[in-house]
Symmetry: C2
Amino acid sequence: MAATIVATHERATAAERILRAAGVLFRERGYHGSSMRTLARALRMEAASLYYHFRSKQEILFAILDRTLDDLLAGVGRAVASADGPEARLRAAVRFHVLFHTDSQHEAFLSHSELRSLTQANLRLVLTRRDEYERVFRGLLASGVRAGVFQVADVRLTAMAVLTMCTGVATWFAEGGRLSPEAIADRYVEMIMKSVKR
Amino acid sequence: MAATIVATHERATAAERILRAAGVLFRERGYHGSSMRTLARALRMEAASLYYHFRSKQEILFAILDRTLDDLLAGVGRAVASADGPEARLRAAVRFHVLFHTDSQHEAFLSHSELRSLTQANLRLVLTRRDEYERVFRGLLASGVRAGVFQVADVRLTAMAVLTMCTGVATWFAEGGRLSPEAIADRYVEMIMKSVKR
DNA sequence: GTCTATAACTAGATAGAC
DNA sequence: GTCTATCTAGTTATAGAC
């Protein structure tokens, strides 16, 4: 299922190496700002060779976002299943979300900044699953409210606030910076729990 | 000073109309995904005519971001000056920040998503002033902590969390949607105050 | 599976008429 | 102040050799 997680190291297939390099490049310069030639150069190959692995640049973008959503949905599912009760479940989900945005920083950033560069058909596929992901957080908040442990004025709005706050980590996180991913996740969890608890 | 605020209606100069249209276009398709020809078409003119008003496409992008930062800095200054005490000041600043991101949605969105498309020199100019803006929020949090009304584990991190959460509004806000800008601002203020209060 | 060569097109920007 | 026409360079993608 989550076999879509790409090995970070040695022995990656050519397709995987291309997706990884494209993730970095698209994040740095944007989809339209990145040419197939530039991508090829980063991989020490010619642009034409990319077309043996992917039919188009669009297919590369879609593959990145599609995998990212696989990983997000599988990861949040595992996180929620690992905990009991609304509070522990929300903690686990937020923790996963933040850590995903530090670990898969480039791909996570693209999965919201380059939605506009998808074709209509591909966008529809991605948005359907992103809605599914957001629904998980709305569900966690709603069940905490029902259980009387959370107090939020608007579940939908709070879910968006929580998600965009954590998603923002991908925009400013720097590896080797002042705070480790774990420290950031811990503090984000505390800020959010303090805000939603009854 | 904040005479940089562009009139939304009638009698806008050609340069202002171009900046406004470019804001929408760049937001929808990205800077590199938008051509001068497309921008010209939206304004019912020819691409060459744009060069009478701006020297390059880059100059248009920079002008948008530069004005946006003028407006952000002037606006947050007014907001903070209008209130007394750390709590009321943070409320006012957050409220302004959210409303700015619904009112100037396109430009606000660009001012973080298209930083990567600026030349190095222009980026430096924009980042200097964005840091200044962020410093306002860090200052408000820090003075609340000193006054004993706020309790936050990490002022820097909390400032980033607050700002990216509110900035995120520009990514999903839809005019005429379920919630008015004022309702969103009010609820964001409450969520944030609950999270930072001692 | 990667290459060279190239087709077909679009980009930003300028010259100069009106 | 806006136009038509055009230059130069870069774009995605394909054909076909190796």
